[in-house]
Symmetry: none
């Protein structure tokens, strides 16, 4: 099956938006054994969209479009494709009901242009949008399959995972199941190196790696006629993953490091407190994205200024003056004193230079001290991170989560 | 001049590589006033590459390709295009010399396949590669301009900035300038509704809207022969934008709400402190993404538990017991006491229920109290947000930023 991905949106052609959708779909389709031979991007222009659709229908069997399904005037993908196949747009009652409910739930006033989204080409399969208002559409005509997905990546991936994957698998008469392994403290190239022998001969299962800052997600995907056949294949690979990555695996899921640590703290009932300088609340903020975290997290302090470090965290003026705010000694006092204030099982304190200003030859941008107190005993980790302000902040947070996780896992095992 | 970007490489079609080249070129070309109408991606396959080149020559005046210029067997772009124009590949002595020198300089041994890179189509303009070995090529034939650039982003951008920009500048006959207006507290459809009359007749300038959570970015783009002509057009639209969106415009740029507020605080030298319950540090964290914020931000407290509210923020036990942690009274005490601890010009406190648990009929998930103290005077805003935990947290943060901004702008104007 030859496939083409058509991305619709002038924002892509003027360079405002990076086309991550085409990459996501290419990878997903490749893992399903579908050959993607072309990507095409075209603006919100009906004539040019029609032209590229005609070219695509001439050379591809499966065409997946993204973008142009929303409520505004320049959202034209459905209209152009319905017209091309000589189909009318008809209002779908279920879609209309969902749309009205969407606005009721959010207490938004619905403007009339939103109703445009309730019209779909006649005889088309409607794909629900779990993350937004614009439904997707699948049309089969003249031996071709055309699937229309929304442009915003969250909505597009939500619809792909929720509906399209099933439809494509049905067509191939097979089941596909993926398992995920999320690892920290190993780079993507290094992780891939450890998998090279498997990647080189991959067929079923297939292996894909996705790198985020400080995390590498490994996905193992197997296909087969039934669940048992697939489980056998995946179990074999799970053993290999554990052998090769061991305690670097922080989640057997797509959970981020912050999520995994949040869940672990709740599960083990380990209380935690945070004192942040250069991360400015990022660690507390990412921890508290986790539902139920209030069971173990009570207090975070963002002691950005020296005054706040003295007033709220009781760091001595002498320490700040002798060693500076970014020093092992300040990190230690922040951590020890936080432990006394909070009485938490784990207290963590960070102080560092996120940049772009504030660095010196002796204490450059990226220097961060992390204090970790576990049941009264404080250990300091000195880190040197590269990157801009946001990257230094996120790398610091990830290192903290890695250290917290390690301390709990080591204690428990 | 209609332009098409053709990206060559199977790694793009299987999703291994994100196509950042197409975005970079689109942006650069748009700024030169060149309209990019299509992106096409094709694999390292001579027949399909030839087909997409033929389609491009039929609809575009300027075609820029990236990829397929290297030394390996599957690098075929030069060969396919020379063949299409009926041109021979001839060895370029200067390119050969540079290539040999490249390897001498790096003390690498040159393998023979590298010599493939010294052959270029006859009569073509050779573009030197400041960051690698494969030269680029420009061909003008039959009223069309075809520019072949290497695939690795460093090499591609180096060649674009070093050679292509100059060549295109000679040809350009107009300038293009965009202005941005970022607005809060209005949805995308509602914003577009207010612009519909302009969008319907748009030609020059053009209008585009981009929605993020709680923010809508409006871009106005004009073209003309010189800066003055463009400024006149854009000034006229700026007046309209201010009339229609007024104080909802929080940035005359692409800045996010948090960035705009961070910059405003620094610019006006207004000091700020935060006390967060349900947002868990998100407000402090987004503020401290802003470089230089330490000038105005000293202290943030994440008082997640009742104990922390009492110990660190001195909220009275009576208030917590009588009215509950999520109440106007608690928000007021958090805010007042934070003001006393921090002595900041603006103190902000939030307490609410982010969910999914913890809600009741009387105090449902999404109920948030925001306290804002400006120079001693505290005002409470009661909010009811819909959405999941993360959305409630982000909406709360955005509302806080909106209120902070309003208080500063109102005070100043």
């Amino acid at each position: 099956m030859k496939c083409e991905i058509i991305s619709v949106g002038t924002e892509l052609l003027v360079g405002d938006t990076l086309n991550t959708n085409a990459q996501y779909l290419s990878r997903e389709l490749s893992l399903l054994g579908i050959r993607v031979l072309y990507h095409t991007t075209v603006g919100d222009n009906p004539k040019r969209l029609e032209d590229v659709m005609k070219i695509a229908l001439g050379r591809s069997d499966l065409i997946i479009t993204t973008g142009g399904l929303g409520p505004t005037q320049d959202d034209l993908t459905k209209e152009v494709i319905a017209n091309l196949f000589g189909k009318k747009l008809v209002q779908d009652e279920k879609v209309k009901e969902d749309l009205l409910q969407y606005f009721v739930n959010r207490e938004f006033v619905m403007t009339d242009n939103n109703l445009k989204q309730t019209f779909v080409p006649e005889d088309a399969v409607v794909l629900t949008n779990p993350k937004g208002t614009a439904p997707g559409v699948m049309i089969r005509e003249q031996g071709k399959t055309v699937i229309l997905l929304p442009g915003p990546p969250r909505e597009m991936t939500g619809m792909f995972e929720g509906s399209v994957l099933k439809l494509l698998n049905k067509e191939k008469n097979q089941l596909v199941v993926s398992r995920y392994y999320n690892i920290s403290d190993i780079g993507e190239s290094a992780a891939e190196d450890r998998l090279l022998d498997l990647i080189d001969v991959q067929d079923n299962p297939t292996i894909a790696t996705y790198a985020k800052m400080g995390e590498v997600l490994i996905r193992i995907t197997a296909n087969g006629k039934d669940e048992k056949e697939i489980s056998t294949l995946l179990d074999e690979y799970e053993t290999i993953m554990i052998q090769r990555f061991g305690e670097n695996i922080f989640a057997f899921s797509k959970d981020s490091l912050a999520e995994a640590v949040g869940k672990l703290l709740i599960e083990k009932n380990v209380t935690i407190a945070t004192a942040e300088s250069c991360t400015g609340g990022l660690i507390a903020s990412q921890l508290t994205e986790q539902p139920g975290i209030s069971k173990v997290f009570g207090l975070g302090i963002v002691s950005y200024s020296n005054e706040a470090k003295q007033t709220v965290l009781n760091v001595s003026r002498e320490t700040l003056e002798t060693f500076g705010a970014v020093s092992e000694e300040t990190a230690r006092e922040m951590c020890d004193n936080l432990r006394n204030i909070s009485n938490a099982d784990v207290s963590v304190a960070v102080t560092g230079i996120a940049g772009p200003d504030g660095g010196s030859a002796e204490k450059p941008v990226g220097l961060v001290y992390i204090g970790l107190n576990v049941k009264g005993n404080t250990e300091i980790t000195e880190c040197h991170f590269k990157g801009d302000r946001k990257i230094v902040q996120q790398k610091t947070a990830n290192k903290v989560f890695h250290l917290i996780r390690k301390s709990i896992v080591d204690k428990v095992e």
